[in-house]
Symmetry: C2
């Protein structure tokens, strides 16, 4: 993709990148995917997966590509978040970053290091390391968006694996809002919104009554409620 010719313009052009905030729920906590930077600036620092937009590539594709290249993560819900363009946010040159946020099922995502990243790892949202650039701000903007969407959409269902129990779904919500939720009210709601259906199977998971197993009626649809 790199060509050894210069690309010249009559006016200065900023660089454009995409950065992706990937959330998942693992080990009973909301976690965020970070990569360790191999080159300057912020060498060795943790940062969001992301990188420069190819000149013939759509923004959404760029976000998906960078994520795949740097972490091996693909096929997840990806939504444009906000664009960050403070003049001094990158010491190298003017960089405009179109940030995305993504939600991944809790299923063990195999992480692999890519070209631009020495390492990729999950960090608990409440225990993030120091981050490169303005990535801390981007992550917190993404978190605000996630939490506010809980109220009026089924976005949190994107955290679910193929099949799940209602207790697992409830646990996701409890982790996200960081508060206990009434079991009966939650189940009433979850069954009323018509987004899940029984598989007919039961899941045995310890010395107690087995749980009914559900699946999403439409995995790729996020419903807006009310």
């Amino acid at each position: 993709m790199s060509r050894n010719v210069d690309h010249c313009y009559a006016y200065p052009h900023p660089a454009v990148t995409t950065d992706v905030v990937v959330f998942t729920i693992r080990d009973e906590r909301l976690q965020t995917l970070l990569i360790r930077r191999v080159g300057p600036p912020f060498e060795g620092c943790w940062a969001l997966p992301g990188g420069f937009l190819d000149i013939d590539e759509d923004l959404d594709r760029c976000a998906a590509r960078e994520l795949r290249e740097e972490t091996g993560v693909a096929d997840l819900y990806l939504e444009q978040l906000c664009t960050f363009g403070a003049v001094d946010r990158d010491p190298r040159e003017r960089v405009i970053s179109v940030a995305y946020f993504a939600l991944a099922p809790a299923a063990r995502l195999q992480l692999k290091a890519g070209d631009d990243a020495a390492d990729a790892a999950w960090f608990p949202f409440h225990a993030l390391p120091p981050l490169a650039f303005d990535h801390d701000r981007i992550i917190h903007t993404a978190h605000e968006r996630l939490v506010s969407k809980l109220d009026y959409s089924t976005i949190a269902f994107q955290f679910l694996p193929e099949t799940f129990t209602l207790s697992e779904l409830q646990r996701i919500y409890e982790i996200l809002v960081d508060a206990p939720i009434d079991k009966r009210n939650f189940r009433k709601w979850a069954l009323a919104i018509q987004q899940v259906e029984e598989t007919g199977e039961l899941r045995r998971h310890g010395s107690h009554r087995p749980a009914r197993v559900y699946r999403l009626t439409d995995r790729n649809r996020i419903t807006y409620l009310k």
Copy 2:
């Protein structure tokens, strides 16, 4: 700002612009501010006010500056909307547009033509002319955002002039949702959310009972409800 030297990069860089969708309510209709393009591409076509980002300028400032330069409109509520970056959205070169949306009080805004715009004018949202680039899509995205924010914020109060009557406020909402609203319920709501206060004055406006005049308790605050 134009310098006659070339600006060269090892990799191709897209251009970055901001475009602003300004809404107001005039003549009992939601209207949008457009400018007529003087140069190619889309010469003579109507388009959103906006233009290229200066290399040392924040995105928000760019949006405000372009709006001011092209239309004379300043000091209004401005919020980043979404970034549009389809590969072929501009025939000249790759252009990433960070779109903003803005709400202006109905007070007659004095429009003036600027350098890049032959003309600036308001168009009813439901009777837009053919637009340059993907600006039609940007406007409709902005409209969706506006309408969805009505439900959970006081964003529509940005359409209000310094002082107003409750009937005027109700009319704004009726125009935005394009449906009649119950007067008693609306007034109960409007007074309950603590965003308006009486000025003590009355407004006479025809052969009927005068209306109480209100002002916003805090003009610059948009409240998120519930």
